[in-house]
Symmetry: C2
Subunit: 199 residues, 2 copies
């Protein structure tokens, strides 16, 4: 590594800090950047700087936004009585891509994790409660992850909202579509069996 000049070494080290990027890949990407046209490298550097400068959280749902209020919250065609709670902006994007939801979102920006010192005050839970207080919401679909922390967060939210005049639901979990049963993990299969429904 120290056979590269300092600027190149610095670039390799910065790239290697990214998650899932090892030293070899960082070296390969740095070499690509060195060989690529100046305009392309500048566009990449600028996009990284800009994303930190210009991207903020929507003041209503806390998803990523260029503006004070995001495009979904502002969209006249969305059903504002239906609210989907997710952990991260990427989860919201995944649901949008699936195209099966026409309500609005609430991005917690995290998940309850007492071991890591993350309680309700460290995520956007108060803001969720405030939206309930503000009213107008008929159903809250909790779409946090189906791991231990996502489930615990879902249970906590369901419990906290139980006294309010709002229907609280959870996205279904079970066998993924298109999957072969023998490749599905045991916990998922167990859940799918427990949640079986009449056809």
């Amino acid at each position: 590594m120290n056979h590269y000049p300092s600027t190149v070494l610095n670039l390799i080290r910065q790239i290697a800090k990214l998650p899932g990027i090892g030293e070899k890949t960082a070296e390969r990407l740095a070499m690509h950047i060195l060989r690529s046209p100046r305009s392309e490298a500048e566009a990449l550097a600028k996009s990284i700087a800009q994303v930190k400068d210009r991207t903020r959280l929507c003041s209503r749902c806390f998803c990523l936004s260029d503006d004070e209020v995001c495009a979904i919250c502002n969209h006249p065609g969305r059903n504002r009585r239906l609210l989907c709670v997710v952990e991260q902006p990427a989860d919201m994007v995944a649901i949008e891509k699936a195209g099966a939801f026409n309500g609005v979102y609430h991005v917690l920006q995290g998940v309850l994790s007492p071991m890591d010192g993350v309680g309700p005050d460290q995520i956007r839970f108060r803001e969720l409660v405030q939206r309930m207080v503000d009213g107008g919401i008929e159903e809250v679909v909790i779409a946090t992850g189906t791991g231990v922390e996502g489930e615990a967060t879902a249970a906590y939210i369901a419990e906290q909202l139980s006294g309010r005049p709002v229907r609280v639901t959870r996205i279904a979990s079970g066998v993924p579509i298109g999957g072969d049963l023998k490749f599905v993990d045991q916990i998922t299969l167990k859940r799918a069996m427990e949640k079986r429904h009449a056809v």
Copy 2:
């Protein structure tokens, strides 16, 4: 993808242009950059910009350098009579890491590839010949790759230098060390057999 705000979308697109980085990975890296401290994102952006501004090719060997002449060409302990010819700066770094070479280098910055319109004038071949003319070099070790183009380039260089008072050698090719013979490809095994030597 178009569910992200434009700045985030722009970052994902810029990252996805890097080789070996698909859309999913680009999305994941962009989310990491968004979540990481501002100082870290700025350091990454700066290192990309700087590498284009400050890195140049060593005027003597054409490897990557911060200065007019690189650290290896300037090092008093290197054997200037021994010259190793490689395709790319990364090849030089690989040989340096192996620690088995104490001479100096000549980086061709490419490989002969008539199909892609790359002839001797498109790589640093003239500069190699000029170094022969300047004199003081006793041996040229050709360490271009062992693929078709690397071999053709090696053969071309060997032929062009044949009239000069310099010993021209080629790095050995054969079975990699630590490899199981049954996992070695046929061409390598054939070469290893042809180049067998007395023990």
